[in-house]
């Protein structure tokens, strides 16, 4: 392990951004207007014009929700391998590492939120769409076991397209592995809060995303098991408006509350306080 990793705190890297990026503008996907990156950042990565939620990197997400300089990362060095020799997987892993600047699709660690100690994991959409392979499963399982041992609550921020098909059944069975660890954590009387972000689908939806004591979601996030295009193709008709959107999933009874980004930290802090964490 590199020495610098031992001392790495999330915000060293996160709070840094060169002037080149600050002065850049991007076009919002929803309102098609040009907005400066600096403004989006200041507004919690929500478009100041139309309220569209931009994707947030895992590390930034943790920084937004935890106390300054409190995050200590666990299992940072874990990396995926192409154990099945799946075609094009090596190059995809390489590209994902470059795009996300992370070793894997999930970041795990310990932190405080408003002074309350907790374990936290955040998945990263930039790493192969947050797909779950053996390492993602292993890191999250480790975190739950660590939290069980230390009697700490877990906060999980999910974003995922599902199991990572390049690792075949090893990926699929991570659903079982993590779910079992969540159960043990729960059996020991510990709290698990899941915060579902856009999109939380497939194998992640059908395992730890849906197993929280308290399940929160971001506005407008897609939350479902099967992909919308697959369903449309199977049924051969258009899907109802708002289908699989957080607001609809809440109506169906699967989410406790939808929490806007600017209120998430305070909301989590209150839940932790109520549970005496």
């Amino acid at each position: 392990m590199e020495l610098r990793n031992l001392f790495l705190k999330a915000n060293n890297e996160l709070e840094y951004s060169g002037n080149r990026i600050r002065s850049r503008k991007v076009t919002c996907k929803k309102c098609q207007k040009e907005v400066s990156v600096a403004k989006i950042r200041k507004n919690n990565f929500v478009c100041p014009n139309c309220g569209h939620y931009f994707t947030v990197r895992a590390r930034r997400r943790i920084l937004m929700l935890t106390d300054k300089r409190s995050f200590v990362e666990l299992c940072r060095e874990y990396e995926s391998k192409n154990v099945l020799g799946f075609p094009e997987y090596d190059s995809k892993l390489q590209a994902a590492k470059e795009k996300s600047r992370e070793n894997e699709g999930v970041i795990c660690g310990e932190a405080t939120i408003g002074g309350h100690s907790c374990c936290i994991f955040a998945m990263d959409a930039n790493f192969m769409m947050g797909s779950m392979g053996a390492i993602v499963g292993e890191k999250i399982t480790n975190l739950f076991e660590y939290a069980t041992e230390k009697s700490l609550p877990v906060i999980g921020i999910t974003v995922s397209g599902g199991a990572r098909m390049q690792e075949g059944m090893i990926s699929l069975m991570q659903m079982s592995k993590v779910s079992a660890a969540v159960k043990r954590h729960s059996n020991n009387g510990n709290l698990y809060i899941a915060l579902l972000t856009n999109p939380t689908t497939g194998g992640v939806n059908a395992s730890f995303a849906m197993l929280g004591d308290i399940t929160l979601a971001e506005p407008d996030a897609r939350i479902g098991f099967a992909g919308p295009r697959v369903i449309e193709k199977t049924l051969n008709r258009a899907l109802p408006k708002g289908f699989q959107k957080a607001e609809r999933v809440l109506e169906c009874g699967f989410i406790d509350a939808i929490v806007p980004r600017d209120q998430q930290k305070a909301y989590l802090e209150k839940i932790l306080k109520i549970h005496n964490c």
Binding site: P87, A163, M165, G168, M175, A180, A206, S207, G224
Partner: protein, 251 residues
């Protein structure tokens, strides 16, 4: 035989389905219906019966025999209430100290608007969650198709067996090829890479036994001795071993 041929064979219409195994192995089978929340799912048949002298709970995903039958069983694709019925009967088995036997044969959990809105993801998740801690033995056998999460939802077991000509996969080779190369033509290439046959999964240590096909009586004997062994294990050890079984999957 190529791996993709095994996939096609596992989908074949003339192979034995869950009812054949239940009728062939379980005496005095009584089917129990309903999930107690919403309805009764035809894709999942479940109930109790005797395996020789041993009372067991048996759950199977059934594809059906002819067109009418297949429609009644929704072609073996369960809605959330199917998984909830299965879980309800597993909990019942735990209460009355009966082992659970699952026959898995599904292309996948049903994907549709209703299934989604009644919580397909939550239903599968809950099965994995509760089965990990169920204080009675569970044995799952993939008898045909092991289609992704829908098959996994009945496979969080002490032992997972597969028929030699069955498959178990994270994704169907066609969808996988479609996602990777925008065409289903290379499904056969992808089938090799997905490691979905019983032989490959056994080598990876993900399943515990490969069963001979066309020998339902022999299979019944094997199941009986395995369940006897598992029933002789004390609850705590059983649950711990099940936890470690899945805990060790990775590299």
């Amino acid at each position: 035989m190529k791996d993709y041929d095994i996939v096609l064979g596992a989908r074949g219409e003339n192979r034995p389905t869950a009812v054949d195994y239940i009728n062939g192995i379980v005496n005095d089978f009584m089917e129990f219906h309903g999930d107690r929340y919403f309805g009764d799912d035809g894709a999942v048949i479940a109930g109790v019966g005797f395996l020789k002298d041993m009372p067991i709970t048996v759950i199977g995903i059934e594809k059906g025999k002819n067109t009418e039958d297949r429609i009644a069983h929704n072609f073996g694709s369960a809605h959330p209430e199917g998984y909830r019925k299965a879980l309800r009967l597993m909990k019942q088995a735990e209460k009355f100290h009966r082992p659970v036997l699952c026959f898995v044969d599904t292309a996948g959990a049903f994907c549709g608007v209703d299934a989604e809105e009644r919580g397909q993801g939550r239903a599968i998740a809950e099965n994995l969650y509760e089965m990990s801690d169920l204080k009675t033995p569970i044995l799952s056998i993939v008898i045909g198709e092991g289609g992704s999460g829908g098959a996994l939802a009945l496979s969080h077991s002490d032992k997972i067996w597969m028929l030699e000509d069955a498959y178990f996969s994270v994704v169907s080779p066609e969808s996988c090829a479609n996602i990777l190369w925008k065409s289903t033509e290379k499904a056969d290439v992808v089938a090799d890479a997905l490691f979905l046959t019983s032989e490959k999964l056994y080598k990876l240590g993900l399943i515990d036994k490969i069963c001979k096909k066309d020998d339902i009586t022999g299979l019944g004997e094997d199941i009986y001795s395995e369940l006897k062994k598992l029933c002789a294990t004390d609850e705590e050890t059983l649950v711990e071993q099940r936890y470690q079984k899945f805990r060790n999957i990775g590299y």
